[in-house]
Structures are given as structure tokens and as C-alpha cells.
Amino acid sequence: MTTLPTPRPGREGSEVTPLITASLRGRRRRPSGEPPPLPRHINHTIRWYLLLVGVAGGLWAGMSVPALLGIITRADLAVLRAVITVRAAWLTHLMLGVNALASPWTTHLVAWGTIAVLVAFRRFRHLAAYLVIVLATVLLISAMALEIGRMRPVGMQILGPWQGYAQPSRPVATLALALVGILYTLVPAGRWRNRGKWAAAAILAAFCAARLYLAVDHPTDQVTALIVGWPLAVVAFWLTVPNDVFPVSYRGGRKAHLDIGGRRGAAIVMALDNQLGLAVTGVDNQLGLAVTGVEPFGLEASAGSTPLRIQVRGPDGGKTVLFGKLYALNHLRSDRWYKLARTVVYGRLEDEKPFSTVRRLVEYEDHLLRLMRDAGLPTPRPYGFVEITPEREYLIVMEFFEGGQEIRNAQVDDRVIDDALRVVRRMWDAGVAHRDIKPSNILVRDGNVLLIDVAFAAVRPTPWRQAVDLANMMLTLALASTPEHVYERALSVFAADDVAEAFAACRSITIPSQLRSLIRADGRDLTGRFRQLAPTRRPIPVQLWDIGRVKVTAGLIAALVVAVALFSVYLQVAGLL
């Protein structure tokens, strides 16, 4: 296996061409109207569920016409009369027991249990979806019950307890919703969820049978309730927390990572082939074989994307490894919340404007990669990005630093220290800041320092931000050396005042969390020692208050207060109290 030759900084023009010739077909433009590699997919189940929702709508429309309501009611009563022919004392006792098992208390317990588990596992998006779907379902049931105003079965003795109008059956709908809520927010898709569906179906079947036996509901009351509580709820979960973007998983790791198997894996291979002309090795997607040329890589160090290791055939036919980062809507949202939190916690020190779309997020990183390469910085060579699903998922492709070691695992000698400091110097000269200098983003290969993950970089940053880059680089180097030695080497690249400014700007919140925890584990007061070594300089204030920060903070507090008030109303309306 070989790696692509790393160009000498600043000496090459376009970096993309060498691999484009790897595929005989080269790049292929997707014609208008042709679906993207991973189109938004409506599977058969969802289509069936939508059809069932239409059936429920049809039944409700029919029930608003007295003549049709009469026909439906007579048909319902005929079924019930057949059911009650099997009534017997022992069976009635059993059915009352089954009916009581799914009481409102049980449903509340299940609903609150689901909420508690979602909070415990910090699945806040699933929680929000669950709460909204519960509220919407309860309101829909109430609205339809009032609209139709249907009586309970007549002409026979009702043996069980009941409350409110009959259509749709509220207990059946809420029990179905509670079970579907568990399945689609807590149970991983696949074998366990499928087993869960059978179990839920069995519970619902027993409950519905008991209520028919007791003549509490008409059959059509249960049909519409089941449609609202199951298919409609599943469609709502599919829309709000699609499993391919927000999978339920208990395997540990970060929730930001997407599953790259199945349709997405094939779509990635196809996109790389068609859009960048990269022939992924070990894959024959036309024969439907497993994708072995694209695999997750370094997941533990990445929260903002799904990092991938991609094997491609190089121009000479040999294997080459590339690095890819898969971005999706959930990453865009994470970026947005992260930037909002930064604005509130320590003000708008720099550009914290969130990206409006996934495409713009990827475009920015691609642009930064090219800009840094043009500036002669040792960052990965960019190969562009591909569209997986328009406006939802993109994969950015870049050079994989084969053989590069994270700096904390590498031999850090004077050559490495000097090279690392020169990288910062070069960034200053080029007018860029990396903004995330920490050990996991600094690799060493053959004694040369390589910089990765430029997604947070900024062009023409504030002087404060540039100074922070220097401080974080010196702290990283000091972890493998001593502050005195790093300071001494720094003076050959920077003025003493530059170093003083760097540590005057340095605070706990300006140090990336990985670096901060390594410094804490190291035990030495590295920051303090650098400040002693450098000329004295007053600290640079990092807490900046401007009208924007005040507005955002006030807005957030107000939103929280409103949310608490709305939540208490919600609990009443959604029937969770």
C-alpha cells in the first residue's frame, strides 16, 4: 500500500488532478431528474402506513355523514354481537383483567419511563420528537372524538369501564403510541426492534380483543385508534428522527456518527466514483457486495462528522488511502448549538455565525483546505467533496496522512518543536488561524509536523485568536518537553512579546478540552510557567459583552422560562399527568 506523494508546501497548483484519472470513466455528471446517490427513501412500510392513515381519514369523513355512520355502526354492532356470543363468567373476569392492565396508569408509567430513559441517555432530539408526537396525537384524538361525538356500542351490555366518546378509542391509541414510542426512540433498529414490534402487536391485540369482548369500543373505533397510535406515529418518527440519520444505538461512541453500511455505504462508493472519479477498492457495488473500501476511522476523536478511511486505486493501479468526513443534518445542528453556546458562554469573540446548510459547511472546509495548502501549510491535500443526498449529506475527501502519529505518541525533539512553531508562524503570515490546536490535530511523520481538521479555521482572524493558536501549540509541545525548552525554541521564531501576548490571551476556555485534560493529568502548571518566562503583560479580556450577546442570552433565558411554562401546560394537555 502506498500513499500519495505529499506535495512540498506551496509548490503545487491544483491538488485534485492526479486521482481524477484513476477511473477510466472519469467523472460523471448526474443528469437532471436522475436521483442522487442516496435519495430520501420512502420504504414500502411507510407507503403502507400512509395508505392506512388515508383509511382512517376516510372512516372519519364517512362518520360525519349520518347515513354512512349508520351503516358503519350497524356493521360494527354485527361484529360485536358475534364476539359477545362467547361471553362466559371466567372469560369476562380474564378480559376485565387484560383491560385493566392497560389502564391510564400503565400508559403514564410507560410514557414517563420512556422520557426518563431518553433523558438519561441524552437523546434530546428523540425526546423532543417523542413529546411533540405525543402532544399531536393526543390533540388529534381529542379533536376527532369531539368532531365525531360517537356513542359507545348500543343494544348490548357494556361490561367494562369507559370514559368519553368512543371514536377513536383513546386507550387503544395511547397504548399503541406508548409502545411505538419505546420502539422508535429506545430500541435499536433491526432484530431487536422487529422482535419488539411483534411483542407490541401481541399486547395490542390482547387489549383490543378484551375491549371488544367487553363491548367498550366498536371495531372501527379501534381501527382508527391503532392507525393514529401506530402507523401515523411511525411516519412522524420517520420524518423527525429518521433512523439513517439519528440511529438508536447503545454501542457507545458518539451519537453524531452515521452508519455507513447498507444503502449509504453503496451511495458513498457511487458518489466517489461518479463525482470524483475515484475507484474505491474492494467494492463491486453493482453486484451488491459489501463495501470494504470505506470504513469508519478515528470515531472517538470526532464529534462533528463521521470520519472515514477510503481505499482507492491510484493512478498507477496501486492502492491509495484517502480520508473522508461525512457531514449530515445532525452535524449541522450540532455546529449550530455549539456556536450558540460559545456566544452565550464567552461572547462573540470571533465569527460564530452558524452555517445555513450542510453543503455550505462542507464548502467552507473544502475552501479552507485549499487555502491552507496554497499558503504552504502542511494540511491534507483536498480532493473536493461529493453529494450523497442534496442539502442533507455530503462527503469531503482529502489526503490521508498514512504513517502520521499523533504528537503525544511521537518522538518530540527540537526539529519537531521548531517545525510546529514554524507552522504557527506560517499561519500568522498567511492570515489564518486553526482555532483547534490540540494533540489529536497535530501529527508527526518523519520528523515533520502535519496539521489536520481545519474545519474551525478562520481567515483574517482576530489577533487574539492567532495568539491563542500559539499558546495552544506551545502547551501541546510542553506536554512532551518542558516549558523552558519550548519557550527557548519559540524565541527563534517569535518575539518574546508575541509569546507574552499568547499567554495573556490564554484562559481555560480558550484551550481545547482534550488539551486541557492532558494538562490537568500532567500536573505541571504549564500556563503559569510560560507566563513567568515571557515578559509581563496584562491579561487580555476574553469575556466580551456586546448587544448581540446580551440579546442572545436574554432570548435564551426567556425561551427557557417559556419552555418550562409550556411544558407544564403540555403535560396537562398531553395527558401525561
Binding site: G70, V138, G149, R150, R152, I158, P161, Q163, E391
Partner: protein, 195 residues
């Protein structure tokens, strides 16, 4: 080069999509909550809508009369309609007696001890009134007793406004004959209501 108009539209849509989606979600949730609360508020069947009265008839199978809303005077509203196998209850609220709604309850039986007879409100109905307090609150119960059931009205008004309020709520709540409901259900739906 000027981008094509559809490309520009697409860009604009893409830019506004997250904010629009968030805004739409909040508005839909708020609207759903508010309309849901509002819809749940005014729910008691009117006397002119017999198909909806059937559920009240089922709550007390032998009751020969069923309470219903004949028409709400200005400033009155209903909420808390709750039919069940134990009877039916709902609340009538006047803006002249905020926080003290009249509770209307249909049950199979009721105890009228201590209550005085009043002019009957419908043929075959015995009406009683029991006052628990006259001043500073005008509070007590009104009973409509008929074969198979009883409607009780629990009121608690500020003294001074009680005469108008009593007249208004008595006018608002009507009694629908069960026999008439049986005929309507037979005619419209082809089903027999339990006697």
C-alpha cells in the same frame, strides 16, 4: 455569470429552511396546543344535536331525561365534559363568576334531603333547591329528579349577581327526553338505544 433564477430560489430556500422549519414547528405546536385547549373547552352537546347526546344516555342507562345545552347566554362557556359509565358531568362558567363554575352532574340517583321543591323544569321532572349559604356567597344545589336519573347543579355565586346568573344557567341547560333520542337514533342510524 448571473445564476439561474431557480438556482437562486433554491439557495434562498436552503438558507431559510432550518429557521423556517423551527419557526413552523413552534407555531404548529403552539397553535395545536392553543386550539387543542380551546377545542377541549367547549364540548358539551347541544340539545339540537341528538346523536352526540347518545353518550350521555349511555352513561345512565335508565335516565328518562338527558342534560344538554339549549343555548349559552353572553359571557358563558362550557368545559370539562366527562361522560363515563358512572354518569356525566360538565362545567358552566360565567365571566361574572370567574373561578366558580356551575357543576352539572347526571347520575342514576341523588339525595335531595334538605332541599325544597321548586317549579318543575320539564314534564315529569321534580325540581328541588337546597341553599347552603345566602351571604356573602349564594351557594347551594338545584336538582332535577326524574325516572331513572337526576341532574344536580352545584352553584356558588357572589351575592348580588345570583338572580341573573341562576336564571341564565337554568335557561342554558335543557333536558332532552330519552324517548325522543331513541326515535332519532332508530331513524338516523338504524340502531336501538338501550332502555
Amino acid at each position: 455569470m448571473t445564476p439561474r433564477p431557480e438556482a437562486r430560489r433554491h439557495d434562498r430556500r436552503a438558507m431559510h429552511r432550518p429557521l423556517s422549519a423551527l419557526l413552523a414547528t413552534v407555531m404548529v405546536a403552539a397553535a395545536a396546543t392553543l386550539t387543542g385547549c380551546a377545542a377541549l373547552g367547549d364540548t358539551v352537546p347541544g340539545c339540537g344535536d341528538p346523536l352526540r347526546l347518545a353518550i350521555i344516555a349511555q352513561s345512565v342507562p335508565g335516565a328518562s331525561y338527558l342534560p344538554c345545552i339549549r343555548g349559552l347566554p353572553q359571557g358563558w362557556n362550557t368545559f370539562g365534559f366527562d361522560p363515563s359509565q358512572d354518569g356525566t358531568s360538565f362545567l358552566l362558567n360565567s365571566d361574572r363568576s370567574p373561578g366558580q363554575p356551575v357543576t352539572v352532574r347526571l347520575t342514576a340517583t341523588c339525595t335531595t334531603s334538605g332541599a325544597s321543591p321548586s317549579p318543575p323544569r320539564a314534564p315529569g321532572v321534580l325540581t328541588y333547591t337546597r341553599l347552603d349559604s345566602i351571604s356573602p356567597r349564594f351557594a347551594g344545589r338545584l336538582y332535577d329528579v326524574f325516572p331513572g336519573g337526576c341532574v344536580s347543579y352545584s352553584f356558588d355565586f357572589t351575592t348580588g349577581s345570583q338572580i341573573a346568573l341562576m336564571e341564565q344557567f337554568e335557561e342554558a341547560v335543557g333536558l332532552y327526553p330519552r324517548q325522543q333520542l331513541r326515535l332519532v337514533l332508530k331513524q338516523k342510524l338504524g340502531v336501538e338505544l338501550n332502555s
